[in-house]
């Protein structure tokens, strides 16, 4: 009689212990804190994927990737949301807006970086450079018909130009500033002519530009070289024109988040993004221009592009006024 309740009690205790112990065990698979890195990136997976993978294989560091839009991620960093070590991607204009969030760091390979891409104060690590180009649909426009920025103001293309809203797209704003800088004459006058020539057909997103030209709903458009090359390789009906008046060639970059919990790993990642191996990949696989002068590519050499000296700080300062005028002009044109 006394044996059975005792056995039952033991069974109950065992059950409670078992249920309390269950579910553990996997946590020891998780990497230790010093072998981790959190990267916020606005790049597409085809860009960050191979880099992160190779970085992991070479260093043994587990990379946790958080993807999103550039501004969204920057705002999250500014708000101090979650641990973040590196912001990877985003035009330097955007990064500059959030300069407070980042810690300057000069990579060991910085000497190989093209002089005009050298960051002021080493606030970021340039990753690739992205010239602004014009594209046209070769079925609608014959070669040589579109030469440069001046064509955007030519009334014969009125309503047939694909241009993204500069208030939404950072690259579109860069394109607008580049155009105004490259064209001689009164900037605001040219801006008014451009908006009028767009005839209300401003596209909501920069991704729509190539599409609009490729399907023929627009004859020409303004986009980044990388986007154009990639879509061209994917079969889009577009041809690329480097504007005769010259163009800008802004870099996108990676930056060390100040107060990064895994600072050492973050620095290793920054070094890696600027290493010759990665930069070769940038040129060979990503249709981007390497920021290093020692990496060859098949693209038209930068000397031939008549690159302008794009003043990022001035452009940032001008942004508000330009966008206000843009909105006013659009309103007036409707």
């Amino acid at each position: 009689m006394s044996g059975r309740p005792r056995a039952l009690l033991a069974a109950l205790l065992a059950a409670l212990l078992l249920s309390a112990c269950g579910g553990g065990g996997e946590t020891d698979l998780a990497p230790p804190e010093e072998a981790r890195l959190t990267v916020y990136t606005s790049h597409k997976e085809e860009v960050y994927g191979p880099i992160v993978k190779e970085f992991q294989a070479r260093t043994g560091i587990w990379v946790q990737v958080v993807t999103g839009g550039t501004n969204e991620l920057l705002e999250r960093i500014a708000a101090g949301e979650g641990p973040c070590d590196v912001m990877f991607g985003g035009g330097v204009e955007s990064l500059m807006t959030y300069a407070d969030c980042f810690e300057p760091y000069a990579c060991s390979g910085a000497g190989a970086v093209k002089p005009w891409l050298q960051p002021e104060g080493d606030l970021w690590t340039p990753f690739s450079s992205l010239p602004v180009v014009l594209i046209y649909n070769p079925r609608l426009v014959s070669p040589g018909e579109v030469q440069g920025w001046a064509d955007l103001l030519d009334t014969r293309w009125r309503g047939r130009i694909a241009f993204a809203d500069p208030a939404v797209s950072g690259s579109s704003y860069t394109a607008a500033v580049t155009m105004l800088t490259c064209l001689p004459g009164d900037d605001w006058e040219e801006l008014a002519q451009l908006v009028e020539n767009l005839d209300g057909g401003v596209l909501a997103d920069s991704g729509d530009v190539v599409e609009a030209v490729s399907v023929g709903s627009c004859a020409l458009g303004v986009t980044l070289e990388e986007t154009a090359l990639k879509r061209q390789a994917a079969g889009a009906h577009i041809a690329i024109v480097y504007p005769a008046e010259g163009t800008s060639n802004l870099p996108d970059a990676a930056a060390l988040v100040s107060g990064a919990p895994h600072r050492e790993n973050a620095l290793a990642f920054l070094e890696f993004t600027q290493s010759a191996d990665v930069q070769s990949l940038v040129a060979s696989d990503f249709a981007r221009r390497s920021v290093r002068s020692d990496i060859p590519d098949d693209l038209p050499p930068e000397d031939s592009l008549r690159l302008i000296d794009y003043d990022i700080a001035a452009a940032a300062a001008l942004k508000e006024e330009l966008l206000e005028r843009w909105a006013a002009l659009e309103e007036g044109g409707l």
């Binding site: 249920s19 946590t27 994927g49 993978k53 294989a57």
Partner: protein, 557 residues
Amino acid sequence: MKTSFHRKLLSAFLAVGVVPLLICVLVLLDLFRVSLDRRAEEEAAVQLTAMAGDMGALLRSCQGVMDRLSRQPQVLEALAAGEGPAPQAVYNALYTAAAPLLRDASFSLYTSQGRLLYATAGAPGDLSPRWGVLAAAGRTEGPAYQSVSDFAGGEALRAALAVPGEEGPAGYVVLELSDAHFRRLLEGKHSAGSEVLVLDPFWSQVYASPSLSDASLAPTLRARLLAGEGLEGEDRLYHVQQEPVSGFYLLLCQPKPVAGWVMRTLYLIALGAILLSLGLCLAVSMVLSDQLFRPILSLNNAMAAVEEGDLDVRVTVSGADEMSQLAGRFNRMAQRLKENLARSLRQQEELGQAQLRMMQAQLNPHFLYNTLDTLKWLGKIHHIPEVASISADLAEILRRSISAGAFVTLEEELRSLDHYVAIQSIRFAGKFTFQTQADPSLLAVPLPKLTLQPLVENAIIHGFEDGVPGTVTVTAARQGDEMVLTVSDNGCGMSRESLERFRSGAGEGHLGLYNVDAILRLHYGRGLTFLPPDGGRGTRIRIAIPIVPETKDMTGT
């Protein structure tokens, strides 16, 4: 009272009925789940160990092949020369070395520049010696293992062995395990319904069994691992084992032996059972408390009724339990109480009758009457009319007093009062006047004999003791269904001590007053009352007698 009793019963029932059930059910369900989980875990561990062993064996064999290839003279020659003059010889060497594994893996040869030379089966094409697996192979002695993903869903395990050259690697022997190879290796080695994932050391997916529908499982698990959360899913269990040769992970994804919905259903059933027993406890405690409480309530009510004086109340007795015995006791007690009360009432009544008879006996009968008759005649014979008159009046009073009935009409009472006053007016000549005012309609109303005379006597004898003459007045008036008689005088009034004596019922001094009061109380339940006298002097006494129909017999002796 009832709620508290009921609540006590209910909580007792709950403690006894539901709590052990609850504990039992929870522990048993948990025990059930844990034991099944344990078994599943053991099974998974066995399967995983077997699969990891197989994979390790395959990789070791592949490593042997790669080693052999890296030392083959034909291969070395081909690597040095690029595409050599006799590709058949190289292919021959390649296939011979890889012969036992041709269906399990594919092998290929790359130059130091990463150009693909020869392959047993589909090879990935040229590779960069500065990137990926070739770069990794250049950094290590043995083969380097890496996962390959082309970000379009094609994944594989790739290993490369650098063929040592004079300056850096002379070329690479590359092994690739693709989807089909993994399927061949792992299929049928885990229980149906479970899935196997092969993950690289950083938990990128290399292979997943075809039955796995969730393509984002590996990233999800990786995120959970990095977040420090357990791998256990909603209704899946995950078991992980590292394959030592490559450092890759095998992850077995098992449906929980008891699926979430089964567990939920079991808990639901348990909850149902608990609710049922809860309901039963509620009902039983209600019925029991009702059964216990109803007799208590009726007993309580009966006791309250007895307290109020109702001795006829009885409790219905049903059954033979303790409550019924109690009810029976109560009934007997009430009965006994009622009998006692009736007996004491009867005794009281008998005592009253005896007192009445004794009082009447005090006023002596026939002897006095005959003597007075003699006196009247003597007065007449000797021509002393006062003596004759007094004797006649006294005789008349006596006659009336000893006549049989206890009741007389008001008219008779007033007449007998006249006789009495006649006597007293001779005795106290000039001291008082007497007057009556009677409603003629009341003359036939019966009242106890000698009700008024003692009061008038009292007024005459005591009211004018101070020698001041006054008036004695008797009135009879109708008030509702009562006849109200008043006897008043304007004499000196009763002293306080006399009133006290009367009220305390001592009966001495004012025997007449006391008698009248006692008789009235006996017959009507209330005695005489003193009223404030008219004009502030004297005494005024009020008697109220109910007027009853004459047919009723009021001669209750």
